[in-house]
Amino acid sequence: MTTTTDTQTVRQAGARPAPPTPPKRRGGLSVVGRAPQDTPAGVWTYVLLSLTFLIAIYPIYWMFVIATSTDAALAEIPPKFLPGAEFSRNLREVFSMQDVYFAESLVNSFIVSTVVTLSVLFFCSVAGFAFAKLRFKGSNALMVMVILTLTVPNQLGVVALYILMGYMPGEGGWNGTLLAVIVPGLVSAFGVFYMRQFILGAVPDELIESGRVDGATTMRIYWSIVLPAIRPALAVLGLLTFVGTWNDFQWPLITLGGTDFPTSMVALFDLASGNYVLYRRVLAGAFVATVPLIVLLFVGGRQIVRGIMEGAVKS
């Protein structure tokens, strides 16, 4: 925590434009007196990075190839490279599989991820605002608690969480309902921490003071001063939360597995289970469940990258 200010100074120094010295030797192999980030990348850097890119995208591309093919494609050596023409047939089969509930599962995943994301954005930004800009007794100790909870591996409480859900109000408790996957995700320690860090730097104290002088209430200040200033951070946290919730598997499997109301990850598990599994179907389903996230990465990739990189520097 105490390193924040150091980091910020360092980052300011880092933002200084690069000294306009010409490359002293061949780029990439040897650096003389220059920081790596000011050294132009050599051919090999591009070659190796492109190779990395191919390895990163290959399984996703191949998922699409099999999803569009017949059963015979799986037996081809060397592996089939171009997509086939069977995508719509495979999809139709996935959506009509009994006991998989694939269409419902996509709707469920959208509901869960959207509700969790909106809730995390609201609760974490108001809490982050309180910790960053309001004075109250015990705020430091409480913030330390938030940071400690960041390191708690929540997954280890799943047995007790399952029992707890059984005692929740309503017939039979919450297990097997979307409440069981939504409610525990409504807040996140990372979100509070991230928002606090961002608000500390993005909202000047004077602005809040002047709001106070004008007689604005705390919520009014949050709404008209803080919210407009933290839009970029909301985008980052929202994207990360949506991806994380969409991809969550262990807890949804435990609480929703075997019901007719799964999330899409649980439905994929059902698709791959049983006696008669066809991988062109399984991978067609997997591809459909992946597409929304690829679209998100395409639209919000910059924000996701920035969120991950800022998170690294601030911790």
Binding site: A35, V159, L164, F249, A286
Partner: protein
């Protein structure tokens, strides 16, 4: 009227901050902290899913059983095997890729975003792909190996080492790009004059990476070591779905790659013994804390020695 608005103002200044942070603490206490503590109680009981009447105190019975449970030790062994095979190459390759990204690149953003493709892909989906890639007869992995002259196809599910390698490959594929971005972020905060000073002895870029850059980003390296310890020791989805029939949760015909998280799931929701599953969770919690602490120490030692 004046009194009321005064009181409202006092409330807004004194109590409002607590109202704003309350949702986080309340929800976290109920659904985060309480299950962890309650887990300790469940571990001391004979809690079964199929027969609530059997619920009673077991004392330390579950923990005693754990010590002599071959399945548990096998799962622990597998978890560590996969953990070592995934963490070390993962962090090493992430440093190398961050090194490549830390240049003046054309299409810089594009490269960075593409590194996150595996990170945003659902583990469930990617593992189902790898399940086919690591098939014995027609899998892509064996075909690639055959290009390098390994003509005996490997049966990736027939033994510990090969199944561990297959699963570690999935973990590495997913996390290398993500960690590379974390390292890249840290690398860009290193003050430029440090490189200016070091260049005097004509270090190559590769040497510069290991002598200057890596020691400078050590805090982030330690952070990622802790993160991958916490994540790696709880590995669940990959071992679950690597199985041709995932619902079995056995991690191979003879438990070749069954991890602890998977064994907890099987004990609790297949064998319906929640009390025993809770005891395993507590054991895993302890192990994670110890390993994370040891790894932090080791990493800071190693990094300190390199300088």
């Amino acid at each position: 009227m004046r009194g009321l608005s005064h009181r409202l103002h006092r409330f807004d200044v004194k109590q409002m901050p607590y109202v704003l942070i309350a949702p986080f603490f309340i929800l976290f206490a109920i659904f985060g902290l309480f299950p962890l503590i309650f887990n300790g109680v469940v571990a001391l009981r004979t809690w079964r899913l199929d027969d609530p009447a059997q619920d009673g105190w077991a004392g330390l019975g579950n923990f005693e059983k754990l010590l002599s449970d071959e399945d548990f030790w096998n799962a622990l062994y597998n978890t560590f095997g996969i953990f070592v095979l995934s963490t070390i190459p993962q962090l090493f390759l992430a440093i190398c890729i961050a090194f490549l990204l830390n240049r003046q690149l054309r299409g810089k953003i594009w490269f960075r975003v593409s590194m996150l493709l595996p990170y945003i892909t659902p583990v469930t989906a990617s593992t189902l792909v790898f399940l086919v890639v690591f098939g014995r007869d027609t899998g892509t992995a064996n075909w690639v190996l055959s290009l390098f002259g390994m003509d005996d196809p490997i049966d990736w599910r027939a033994g510990k080492l090969q199944s561990w390698i297959a699963i570690a490959t999935m973990v590495n594929w997913k996390w290398i790009g993500y960690n590379a971005l974390l390292y890249l972020a840290a690398m860009q905060t290193i003050p430029r004059d440090i490189y200016e000073a070091s260049a005097l002895d004509g270090a190559t870029a590769w040497k510069q990476l290991w002598r200057i850059t890596v020691p400078m980003i050590l805090p982030v390296v330690i952070f990622t070591v802790v993160l991958s310890t916490i994540g790696g020791l709880q590995l669940f989805t990959e071992p679950m779905l690597f199985e041709p029939n995932p619902a079995a949760a056995t991690g191979g015909a003879n438990g070749e790659w069954q991890t602890i998280a998977q064994l907890i799931y099987k004990t609790g929701w297949k064998n319906l013994n929640l009390g025993y599953a809770a005891a395993m969770s507590w054991a895993l919690f302890l192990i994670i804390v110890i390993v994370a602490a040891v790894n932090t120490l080791l990493t800071s030692r190693l990094g300190g020695g390199r300088r």
